[in-house]
Symmetry: C2
DNA sequence: GTCTATAGATTGATAGAC
DNA sequence: GTCTATCAATCTATAGAC
């Protein structure tokens, strides 16, 4: 259910995808040229067009390659907590639901530099409502967001849908900043040590869980 | 204190700035050509370079034109609530502090399409830590964020700085999504009516105020 | 599959007439 | 200040040899 099998790529294709991903994240999709990708990847200039067809199709491949396994895992965890609650004959809690979405997202984004880069691309794309790749992104995310909203609605039946919808948007904003570790400079005094991933997950879940039901 | 006087522009310069702002927001800064700007603005192709020097300097002018008055107002409101609390011989509350930052931000972003476009550019820029305009943006925002953090620290003295810093990042993420009304499609059933600005402000403040002090 | 060479289009920027 | 004309540099994409 909801599982999508990943696409297999050759070694050359993987090198191109890895390099494109890094350059897209650090310099922006539009600012990254095929020349920059192929020269950094040490493959021929014509390789991108041969293996992927066009720059646009390469971008889509970069997005789908990691988005598919990430969403598979998010679906798996959501289904798991729903099933567990059903087995125990109780409602799922808000914190459980949010954790099932946040935990795989933050673990994924902190896995290594490549995954960090990928999440950087996704969050930048998500910010621009007029982006040409937005419809691709939306079509991938929609089933998951629908499932997440339905679970929250069931856990908080007294909150109006409009309000709940707004708070879910806020939650996604919180998570976007959590996974990017956006470093808006706070307090000049000292460089803060980066907290570990488990702390980040706990802090994020408790922040949005509290926001979901303000006093 | 903290007030920065705005720059004056000629009619032609204003038209160029307005047009560039809209195109930057809808198509992205890199994807927007000087030809697109000048033809849409119905000015000569050479006008941008004559009036602003280069595309890069035009981008900086677009950013500073609106960021300056917005931050002036944010500083004004923060100073006002701090002064009021001092006069009443009490601490500022967390909700007061967050409201003083969120209210001007959301009112500004909902003022009209041009302001919405501007905030779209800013939030996109903020998402990319490697952006070439990030240092400009950071230098503008730093004094304000420092003041905000200091106020929160004074209102919540028992929360460790590292934790508070993280929660402030979450707050900025929430606000970014609130002002952009990022429309990740939730619940297919029906199109939700856009809520009014006052409701949006109240919901945002109560969400992040609750998150600031989870149970 | 990999490579060179190049076509064909578009870009930011400027020189110089008015 | 505005305009035309144009340069030099870049881009994506492809044709065709190996």
């Amino acid at each position: 259910m909801n599982y999508i099998a990943p696409v297999k790529y050759s070694a050359t294709q993987e090198i191109i995808l890895d390099t494109a991903e890094h350059l897209f994240a650090t310099q922006g999709i539009h600012a990254t040229t095929l020349r920059a990708i192929t020269s950094t990847a040490k493959v021929n200039l014509a390789a991108v067009n041969y293996h992927f067809g066009s720059k646009k199709q390469l971008i889509q491949a970069v997005l789908l390659r990691r988005m598919t396994p990430l969403n598979n895992e998010r679906h798996r965890q959501l289904n798991a907590i729903i099933q567990t609650a059903r087995d125990e004959n109780r409602r799922t809690t808000v914190a459980e639901i949010l954790h099932a979405f946040i935990e795989p997202t933050l673990h994924f984004s902190q896995k290594n530099m490549a995954h960090k880069d990928f999440m950087s691309i996704v969050s930048t794309l998500m910010m621009n409502p007029h982006n040409e790749f937005r419809s691709l992104f939306v079509s991938i995310m929609k089933p998951l967001i629908d499932q997440l909203f339905a679970a929250l609605k069931a856990a908080l039946p007294t909150i109006p849908s409009t309000t709940l919808q707004m708070r879910l948007q806020f939650t996604l904003g919180t998570l976007t900043f959590a996974m990017r570790e956006i470093d808006i400079p706070i307090s000049a005094q000292q460089q803060q040590p980066a907290s570990d991933i488990e702390t980040l997950i706990d802090e994020t879940v408790s922040f949005v869980s509290a926001g979901m039901e303000p006093l």
